[in-house]
Symmetry: C2
Subunit: 343 residues, 2 copies
């Protein structure tokens, strides 16, 4: 069995240098030339460090488990994973990911599987802001929920998007362009994002002194272009149709574009539209490009990794449960104009 | 320390039943009622099985490492990961994923990190069909490359899309509609996908008895809508412009749509367009919806997991290196029509 000592001897460096290089923690501390020599020596000797044995000895695996429910398999939130991975990596931790691909029955065994591999902490990632039922976990394992809230709020740190603030931004850009009859095409699914965005819509109107008009709030049956089209056609049939529409999502905004085209309305000349999500490709492909609100996936990923690492680095310290509403950002493109003058 | 025996006693079942349930291999073998009782007992006793200790004893971790270069963080190939994960899971293996987010310097330490966790096999996933430089690996670890080819072809099993066959399908759908002047807007980047699709384009024309016309092959500088628009505008300026265009990708097809609009050409009445990738949302958002070729992400993911598991289950058997070109599928939508009669 080749040991780290053998590698150190062959490379002519200390064992701790070998350890830093091979654990990936040598960047910035060990010169590239030395690091290359260490790696070459390790390769020549076919050295494979055995973290299983080491884990038993030190109880530290520098590994964080990440359980995701289809995040890896959807275009939606990949940036969140990438950000968490990068943050962990730069702090000397490895993120082991298991994606359950929306199979709820996999969650508990997948969690067990991660615990069996002696992960020191866990991150639960949801594809969209929802209430997350955490499985049974042993004490002393820090847990962070990312883009979701644990049903028992005290059981874990969590970060979600500030849906309400994001919706305010979306409505504000319409108000700033001069719109007064602003509709909201919400998603009918009972998820926190729907409630939060509806609240933000109401707040922005109230701040502008505009009375809430229930005739201007509709619900797409699902978060799809087809359902959005149907709901927006409904809005456009009102005796006094809106001049601007805030859509729950970019997907629903696709439907709003279609509805506008069917009614012979030009965007933004006759109708202004704002989306939510800044989902890759949709905004780029729509014509005109869509003004929308970007979800803070990168910030959520970074925050979650930082938070779990902070807990790991302060063992024995009882940090209070922390939660965060991450700010969304307005992305201005070409789908908002001034309201048409009444003809 | 709570053992599996304690859980078995509390639940009133055998130790092997507990083992099946807690390892996730009980589905279909153990009734849900018994499985629930086992899980409740394990939870009550705060039982955490320790695979680290078990791994040392049996040398079997039933874990496969998956190293990806930004697959998890791009919309493109998430289905491939999901398929590999599902296949592994259903065979009793766990897939531990590390995504290097395109940081090449992470590949070697990430591989080491997976080996340290005693993965039994490795899958390397590329975001797109490219030549993959594998890092130094110890002997006896099965390796499969997914959506890429190892630079040393004998070092690993590999699966890539049948780019050539996919391109033939794309051109054939134009031929079948009656087109004879069929252009190819390729991607200028020197990747296997470009070469393979250009070969398939030439083959399909040759089979139809149409001479290859170099004036009908252009290269978008990058795989983007903007570069595609410029290249297709060039094509449409030819003395005898094409009536149908096969685009290297759906993104380049977005550019082709824009170029057509700028020239006042209707799709498919005046110009037919076929894409490649069947990338989520693009085909749905474009108007008219895009006829395109789907990359076999699901098949590649399933194949890779199966292949590595096959090697793990036949230890000591020297299986020859296997490679596979996975078939692409034509997705017919509304962007291909009959060529306009000469006016």
């Amino acid at each position: 069995m080749v040991t780290m000592k053998d590698v150190a001897r062959k490379a002519g460096v200390s064992v701790s240098t070998v350890s830093l290089v091979l654990s990936g923690r040598g960047v910035g501390r060990i010169t590239e030339e030395v690091a290359d020599r260490v790696r070459a020596s390790a390769a020549d000797l076919h050295y494979v460090p055995n973290l299983v044995a080491k884990g038993l000895r030190t109880k530290q695996t520098h590994t964080i488990g990440l359980l995701s429910d289809s995040v890896a398999s959807t275009p939606f939130a990949g940036k969140m994973l990438a950000a968490a991975q990068l943050e962990a990596w730069e702090s000397g931790y490895l993120l082991l990911l298991i994606d359950t691909a929306d199979a709820r029955e996999m969650e508990e065994p997948a969690t067990q599987a991660l615990l069996q591999r002696n992960v020191e902490g866990l991150i639960y990632a949801s594809m969209y802001h929802r209430d997350v039922q955490l499985p049974q976990l042993p004490d002393g394992i820090p847990v962070v929920v990312m883009d979701g809230r644990p049903t028992d709020l005290d059981r874990a740190d969590w970060i979600v998007p500030d849906e309400q603030g994001g919706a305010r931004l979306a409505v504000q850009v319409l108000l700033d362009a001069g719109h007064r009859r602003i509709a909201f095409c919400n998603n009918a699914e009972p998820i926190p994002a729907s409630a939060g965005r509806e609240k933000g819509y109401g707040d922005a109107l109230a701040d502008a002194g505009i009375a809430y008009d229930p005739a201007l709030v509709v619900h797409a049956a699902t978060n799809t272009a087809d359902a959005g089209r149907a709901a927006v056609l409904d809005l456009l049939s009102r005796p006094e149709p809106p001049t601007g529409i805030f859509c729950f999502s970019d997907r629903i905004a696709i439907g709003a574009y279609r509805a506008a085209t069917e009614r012979g309305l030009r965007i933004p000349d006759d109708l202004s539209i704002v989306g939510f999500d800044n989902q890759e490709f949709i905004a780029d492909v729509l014509s005109p490009p869509l003004t929308t609100v970007e979800l803070p996936h990168t910030q959520m990923g970074t925050w979650a990794a930082r938070r779990v690492i902070k807990r790991l680095r302060t063992p024995g310290v009882s940090l209070p449960v922390k939660n965060e509403y991450a700010s969304c950002q307005l992305i201005i493109r070409d789908s908002v104009g001034h309201p048409a003058l009444p003809s």
